[in-house]
């Protein structure tokens, strides 16, 4: 190359091609997917639930849950996610269209959470798990999230929100431990995570259909 403008044109063009191919074409393909509508049953999926799940997604993001938990189920040819019970089917792009922040994740120091709301439906379990992960899952390396809880004196009757903590975690008599607003939102979000609805591009496997 005798003249640098030619080199610069190359520097521009190579990067532009990569950008167009790796970012812009995918944007045209999956950037504006719509939910699937089953006209016969009037059934729409996914649904934008908003509200507490949106607030909880903010907490999930602030606390960086996605550095250890993925939210994607790989198909049978790509891994054992389905056999591990993390989802009945693989997840596809349409599953995520209403996620204001998408947490596909790149690490599994803990299990996948793509369908955690369908797998663990009990809020109290989630609270106990967040408060002291090892009390419900021995050997877990999840950090405790005790700073999302408030310890307070029981006024009259025990609050309905109070977490049923056992053993060394249980507060002294006359006290209770309740989740704060962030913890409630986070658990609300976790309980909302259910990507097991059949989609045309990702049907449920036959055995899962029978079980439903």
């Amino acid at each position: 190359m005798k003249t640098f403008p030619a080199v610069f044109a190359g520097i521009f063009a190579t990067f532009a091609i990569g950008w167009a191919g790796a970012v812009m074409i995918p944007q045209f393909q999956v950037g504006s997917l719509e939910p699937q509508v089953d006209e016969d049953l009037g059934d729409v999926y996914p649904v934008n639930i908003g509200g507490i799940a949106d607030q909880g997604r903010q907490v999930y993001k602030s606390e960086g849950c996605f550095y250890c938990h993925s939210q994607q189920v790989r198909g049978q040819y790509d891994g054992t996610d389905i056999e591990r019970g993390w989802g009945a089917r693989r997840t596809v792009a349409r599953d995520y269209i209403y996620d204001t922040t998408t947490f596909l994740g790149s690490m599994r120091n803990g299990p996948d959470l793509a369908n955690i709301g369908e797998r663990s439906k009990v809020a109290d379990w989630h609270y106990r798990h967040l408060y002291d992960p090892r009390s419900v899952t021995p050997g877990s390396i999840m950090p405790p999230f005790r700073f999302l809880f408030i310890k307070r004196k029981i006024q009259g009757q025990r609050s309905v929100d109070a977490v049923n903590l056992q053993g060394p975690d249980a507060p002294e008599p006359g006290y209770e431990i309740v989740p704060n607003a962030d913890a409630k939102a986070l658990v609300g979000y976790l309980l909302s995570l259910d990507r097991s609805h059949a989609l045309k591009e990702a049907p449920l496997p036959p055995e899962a259909k029978k079980a439903k």
Binding site: V23, F66, T100, P133
Partner: protein, 491 residues
């Protein structure tokens, strides 16, 4: 490079000598003009390197002692881990890279550094941006995308900062003295140009246009792979292409291979990110193209490897003598190893095992630390004495820094890669319950903490030696500080 003058015809013998002398004075003047800004970049970078060492150590301990510092929200793993990676990348690597870029640009364009205020303000803004971003992550305002965690206000500051430096870079390049444009300069111009496009469009798509669903993951993967592979890759390779010939005194073996290496690098590296999405909820062609590009990088790696090996041939003993060569050589080898591991890891049969494990953390450290940071250390050991006007005080401190960094990061990467393979393989075997997969990783995570302690020792030696240098406690200029004395003239 500045060898052209010495090839004048014979009758100008007397003049040639004085031209060579002029050339030397010229270089000294250029170095003097660059001294303030470049040392400023290095000083802030090293400060962040220490911060990232502390964050990284805490994050590493938390992986085997999850209750450690567990009571504070701002130190929870999900905040301290991105705080660590971002201080390492934006606090240390970017300013260290910019400092080296600035010095290489004025040297290769053979012009004195003018308008230093642009650079000084650029670095001040950059550091304000990084501080705001790290504080933002620690108080829970992360954007939730890997390597793009900084909240929008911090991103805006960083962008202003970068614009100031880029304007300066364009001005220097335009005012270069006519003549051959050396290959390092190609990489540097590429790096200067690619960064704003990369950082700008990624943040624009995520925080302003709010792209939906999996597009966020696609943009994040594209950005992350390019920031490390392309941007750091370009500055690191520019540095390697400059220092290996410079210190060994031998020109690049094949300039033709160097240009092939450059163009295949520019063509294939921008595609690599999407290989990480294999098996994920994206159209299959996206990761497939990433894998194809990854395989094509064999060409880049082969040309660069052959070229470096041929340039180094007969000069391998320099690794024993020269700190710059030793660090730069380590970086060059790490670049090649990282490329090979990247290719192997992108195969679907391997990827299904290594995906979602510490293997990717191993790849990150191979790129950001073993390749880029080691290369930058090498550059700093060469550049700083020329800017300050004295030599490194202590060869043993440099030696300690090298061994601690080399062994520390080597141990860490080996542990991360092996634990990734081992845990990934048992994750792939459904007979193994998930908790036993986690248990299996614990010894590796403890080893990782040991590696961090070793790295911290190395960084301490480096910082002390650097501080003594900028406070002018070094040895008098003239005789370079080497690991072992060398015959002939030392560099």
């Amino acid at each position: 490079m500045s060898v052209a003058v010495t090839t004048k015809p014979a009758p100008l013998e007397a003049a040639t000598v004085s031209l060579a002398e002029i050339d030397q004075v010229d270089r000294a003047l250029i170095d003097a003009s660059a001294s303030g800004p470049v040392l400023f970049f290095y000083t802030t970078a090293i400060t962040w390197l220490l911060a990232s060492t502390v964050f990284g150590l805490i994050a590493s301990i938390k992986l085997h002692q999850p209750e450690f510092l567990g009571g504070w929200s701002f130190l929870t793993y999900g905040r301290i881990r991105p705080a660590y990676v971002d201080t390492l990348v934006y606090g240390w690597a970017c300013p260290a890279g910019m400092g080296t870029l600035i010095w290489l640009m004025v040297r290769l364009c053979r012009v004195s550094l003018r308008r230093p205020a642009l650079l000084v303000f650029g670095n001040i803004f950059w550091n304000i941006g990084v501080t705001a971003g790290i504080v933002g992550i620690l108080i829970g305002q992360s954007q939730g995308h890997e390597l793009l965690e900084f909240p929008s206000y911090a991103v805006a500051i960083l962008f202003i900062a970068y614009s100031l430096m880029a304007v300066w870079g364009v001005a220097v390049f335009q005012s270069r003295r006519p003549g051959h444009v050396y290959i390092s300069l190609w990489y540097l111009v590429g790096a200067l140009f690619w960064f704003p496009w990369l950082y700008g469009t990624a943040n624009l798509m995520l925080s302003v246009l709010h792209v939906r669903g999996v597009m966020q993951a696609i943009v994040t993967c594209w950005f992350g792979a390019n920031l490390i592979g392309l941007w750091m890759g370009a500055i690191g390779l520019a540095s390697i292409y400059y220092f290996i010939p410079k210190v060994t005194g031998r020109p690049v073996a094949s300039y033709h291979l160097a240009t092939i290496g450059f163009w295949t690098f520019a063509l294939f590296y921008p595609w690599l990110g999407s290989a990480r999405l294999a098996g994920g909820p994206v159209p299959v062609w996206i990761p497939t193209l990433g894998i194809a590009a990854s395989i094509m990088t064999i060409v880049t790696l082969a040309t660069i490897t052959v070229n470096f090996a041929m340039t180094m041939r007969g000069s391998y003993n320099m690794v024993y003598h020269s700190p710059t060569i030793r660090f730069t050589f380590y970086g060059a080898v790490a670049f090649i190893v990282s490329g090979i591991i990247g290719i192997i890891g992108s195969f679907r049969s391997v990827g299904r095992i290594t995906q979602f494990t510490m293997f990717s953390s191993g790849e990150l450290h191979l790129g950001v630390y073993a390749f880029f940071s080691m290369t930058m250390f090498g550059a700093i050991y060469y550049i700083a004495p020329r800017l300050v006007g004295c030599e490194w005080l202590s060869a043993s401190m440099i030696r300690m820094h090298f061994w601690a960094s080399a062994y520390g990061i080597g141990l860490m990467i080996i542990l991360l890669l092996i634990s990734g393979l081992a845990q990934g393989a048992s994750m792939d075997n459904i007979a193994q319950p998930f908790t036993s997969v986690i248990d299996m990783g614990q010894p590796y995570m403890r080893g990782n903490t040991i590696a961090w302690v070793v790295l911290a020792v190395g960084h301490a030696f480096f910082t002390v030696n650097f501080l003594l240098m900028i406070l002018r406690f070094g040895k008098p200029a003239g005789q370079a500080t080497l690991f072992a004395p060398m015959e002939g003239d030392g560099h």
